[in-house]
């Protein structure tokens, strides 16, 4: 069944949205008109330029309200979700003991020139995140956190040396998609080193989601708010699956596709 929705301002289906942007022209009545034109070109009607102010000699800052006429079929939106049951801390250790029969080895790092370690630390270190213990705390995990600014090659080498079950990759800086570049480089080296097939590759960070991670060739992606226990359970289920012991878990859900908005020199289309 269809479930058509529109943005809601004051009443159902009024389609109201708020926009703000800067135009690279001096503040003026003409800039205000241009701001209205931008909104109209986005297909908005009932356009109100609430503000058009000088944001420097050559720029104007605009706040615009308008109504979109588009309608969205909410029923048609699909977001994959995990359906397997999540084990608690003790229980997970027990089932790993039972089903895997040994400690699971994971090697993680924040790669490239990125030194934002809080994310990977949240997953791997004892302390964990938001009251949820990190992988180091699990008796049935051997968690090796290489920290920040690790070259992809170094991470792969260590994973190979440790015969790791899973490699945990974190990237936080995303300007001009540098996180994707580094992530791709890592998988290329893993392939070259022959560990790609037999190892799980997990990608995480504030701009990462499951879909992006899959596109890049990872097994899974983990975004903001991920808890260590999510990761621990995920790895357990995938290992089971690889051992042919359980039904494959469904894809995890980590929001919408990532994208950075910072400027690039790339040519964009010039019509709409």
């Amino acid at each position: 069944m269809k479930q058509p929705i529109r943005p809601y301002g004051d009443r159902k289906d009024d389609g109201v949205i708020q926009l703000s942007f800067v135009l690279p022209v001096p503040a003026s009545e003409k800039a205000k008109e241009a701001a209205a034109t931008v909104a109209k070109k986005l297909g908005l009607s009932h356009v109100l330029v609430a503000c058009m102010e000088k944001a420097g000699e050559d720029y104007s800052f605009c706040v615009v309200y308008g109504r979109t006429h588009m309608q969205l079929d909410y029923a048609a939106i699909e977001v994959p979700t995990v359906v397997h049951r999540k084990h608690g801390f003790d229980e997970l250790n027990e089932v790993i003991q039972r089903d895997v029969g040994r400690r699971i080895v994971v090697v993680g790092a924040c790669i490239g020139t990125d030194s934002h370690t809080t994310g990977i630390d949240a997953i791997m270190n004892m302390k964990g995140f938001a009251g949820d213990y990190g992988l180091e705390r699990y008796p049935l995990f051997r968690a090796i956190n290489l920290g920040s600014q690790v070259e992809p090659a170094a991470l792969v080498a260590r994973a190979k040396a440790e015969n790791a079950d899973a490699v945990l990759v974190s990237k936080v800086v995303t300007q001009r998609d540098v996180h994707k570049e580094d992530a791709r480089a890592l998988l290329d080296i893993a392939r070259a080193e022959g560990i790609f097939e037999k190892t799980l590759f997990l990608f995480g960070g504030p701009r990462v989601d499951h879909k992006t991670a899959l596109e890049l060739g990872f097994d899974a992606g983990f975004g903001p708010g991920t808890k260590p226990s999510d990761v621990a359970n995920y790895i357990y289920y995938r290992l089971l699956e690889r051992a042919g012991k359980a039904p494959p878990p469904q894809q995890t859900a980590h929001g919408t596709q990532d994208a950075t908005v910072a400027g690039t020199g790339e040519k964009l289309g010039d019509t709409l």
Binding site: T113, Q149, T260
Partner: protein, 520 residues
């Protein structure tokens, strides 16, 4: 007025402890030099430009000397020797020649040795004079213009970080026109780990723009013009941090920058740079900053982006006292030491405004003559830009009320991206309003001596004192090894750049250090 509820005797004791901890490190510093220090000496002596594959000449020369294992005598000495040995040759070739077979270099007589040093000293003095005259230009311009929004208002500090120096200029100008007092050009992520300073104007960086002398020049020129147009002085700042602390300090001084991020421990903790290297480098870089009247900004704000801001507040205070000692040991006056700290307590908790006020007042009053640099919330920023903006407004209020000297303005999009032009606009407009609205609030109110604020200061200071006891007892290096600062542990031999640390020879010669240390 900012109020301090900590006993003076405790403060005095804390300072003693910080001094004793830092003096031990200083003894190490005084026995060593680094490749970066020596490259800076060469740059001061006029060695600029790049060689093959873009490597700076100073790097090429120092590398030769290090490989030849003669750097312990100081690059200035070898430059003198080389130029004397190959008069008229270009310095790189001259150095390469000496370095190729240093053992074969004909020994100089004692008189010649003295003469060589005197010549280099004379050159150094004239180099310093030139530098000073450039600084004087900067100061003169500043004196002729208005500074800040009003007497006592924090300077509004915003960052530009497009990766492209020309875009940076564009955005810096727009920010200045909307009220910014300080423009910080954020560096590309990778730069602090580069053991050289890139050259020329650059247009491609990630998360920031490369710090190069040419980029400094381009931005300073733009800000000079803008300052004159607006009749308000615009400060420029960058980073003297990473593997090239002293070199960047020199370039910044030469290009008339006003401030530099410069911390005795940041590189160790947050960039995994070897601690010996960082300690030595920070010293020489601060000698330069002190002489060039460059305000340094310490990096304690970073501690509470990794550790919990409420629990780790005392590490900020302890570290500031250590940074203070290091700066004093490098001859810096209080006026140029801009202690860093920040508004980072989790907004989900209660009375955070009171706890932030407690910290802001304490830092302000512990260093009454210094221009405190106040950082905005970052760690708990959310994608909800409206909430994020409200959160920043509270930081603006604390900044103006407690008379922080320099305030980095929070960006509503902190959790997403480097600031866009419109983010800066929004921040500047609101900060302008808050400063105006609360202009004299600090002078109006006083806090209860038995209240939450007073107790919080006392609690934090007691913990800082306790930490300093430990640091003084076990030594700085051991304390860092135990992750006492920023929740990060480092070892004396670990991290990047240790190979660039060299024990000074008995005959070590560094004419600039002599001048800067007041020994020549």
């Amino acid at each position: 007025m900012a109020q301090l509820f900590v006993e003076a005797s405790k403060i005095a004791r804390a300072r003693e402890l910080a001094q004793s901890a830092a003096r031990e490190v200083q003894a190490f510093i005084d026995r060593h030099t680094t490749v970066s220090i020596e490259r800076t000496v060469l740059r001061l002596l006029g060695i600029s430009g790049t060689g093959t594959r873009g490597a700076p000449l100073a790097n090429l020369m120092v590398d030769r000397l290090r490989e030849a294992k003669v750097l312990h005598r100081g690059a200035a000495y070898w430059l003198g020797r080389a130029l004397r040995a190959s008069p008229g040759k270009d310095p790189l070739h001259a150095i390469e020649r000496v370095a190729a077979h240093p053992e074969k270099a004909p020994p100089l007589t004692a008189a010649e040795e003295v003469q060589l040093r005197e010549e280099m000293r004379a050159e150094s003095r004239s180099a310093i004079r030139e530098l000073q005259s450039r600084i004087e230009q900067r100061e003169e311009l500043k004196r002729s213009l208005r500074v800040g929004s009003f007497e006592g208002a924090p300077w509004k500090y915003v960052i530009v970080a497009t990766g492209n120096i020309h875009d940076d200029v564009e955005q810096a100008r727009a920010a200045a026109q909307q009220g910014a007092d300080v423009i910080a050009v954020i560096r590309s992520t990778a730069q602090s780990l580069l053991d050289y300073v890139p050259d020329g104007a650059t247009t491609e960086g990630y998360g920031g723009t490369y710090a190069t002398q040419e980029n400094f020049r381009i931005m300073r020129e733009a800000l000079d013009a803008e300052s004159r147009k607006l009749s308000r002085y615009l400060h420029l700042t960058n980073y003297s941090s990473g593997l090239c602390m002293p070199e960047i300090a020199f370039m910044a001084a030469y290009e008339r920058l006003d401030m530099l991020l410069n911390d005795a421990m940041y590189g160790i903790l947050f960039r995994d740079i070897n601690m010996k290297r960082t300690f030595c480098d920070q010293y020489f870089s601060r000698r330069i900053c002190g002489s060039a009247k460059i305000i340094i900004n310490t990096g304690e704000d970073n501690y509470i982006t990794t550790a919990d801001a409420d629990e780790a507040a005392h590490t900020v205070i302890a570290s500031q006292l250590i940074n203070e000692t290091f700066a004093h040991l490098a001859g810096m006056k209080d006026e140029w030491i801009g202690f860093g700290h920040s508004f980072e307590i989790d907004p989900a908790r209660e009375d955070t405004l009171l706890r932030e006020l407690a910290m802001a007042m304490m830092v302000r009053e512990l260093f009454p003559r210094s221009p405190i640099k106040y950082m905005p919330p970052t760690k708990h920023k959310e994608g909800d830009i409206f909430f994020s903006h409200a959160y920043d407004v509270m930081a603006d209020l604390v900044a103006v009320t407690t008379r922080q000297g320099i305030q980095l303005l929070g960006m509503m999009t902190e959790a997403m991206h480097n600031p866009f032009l419109m983010d800066r606009y929004v921040a500047l407009k609101s900060a302008g309003y808050v400063y105006r609205a609360a202009r004299h609030l600090g002078e109006e109110i006083s806090f209860r001596p038995d209240g939450i604020v007073a107790r919080r200061q006392q609690e934090v200071f007691d913990k800082a004192l306790h930490l300093l006891e430990e640091v003084a007892r076990d030594g700085m290096m051991a304390a860092i090894g135990k992750a006492r600062f920023g929740d990060t542990a480092r070892t004396p031999e670990g991290g990047k750049g240790l190979e660039g640390v060299i024990e000074r020879g008995a005959d070590y010669f560094n004419p600039f250090l002599e001048i800067l240390e007041g020994k020549a």
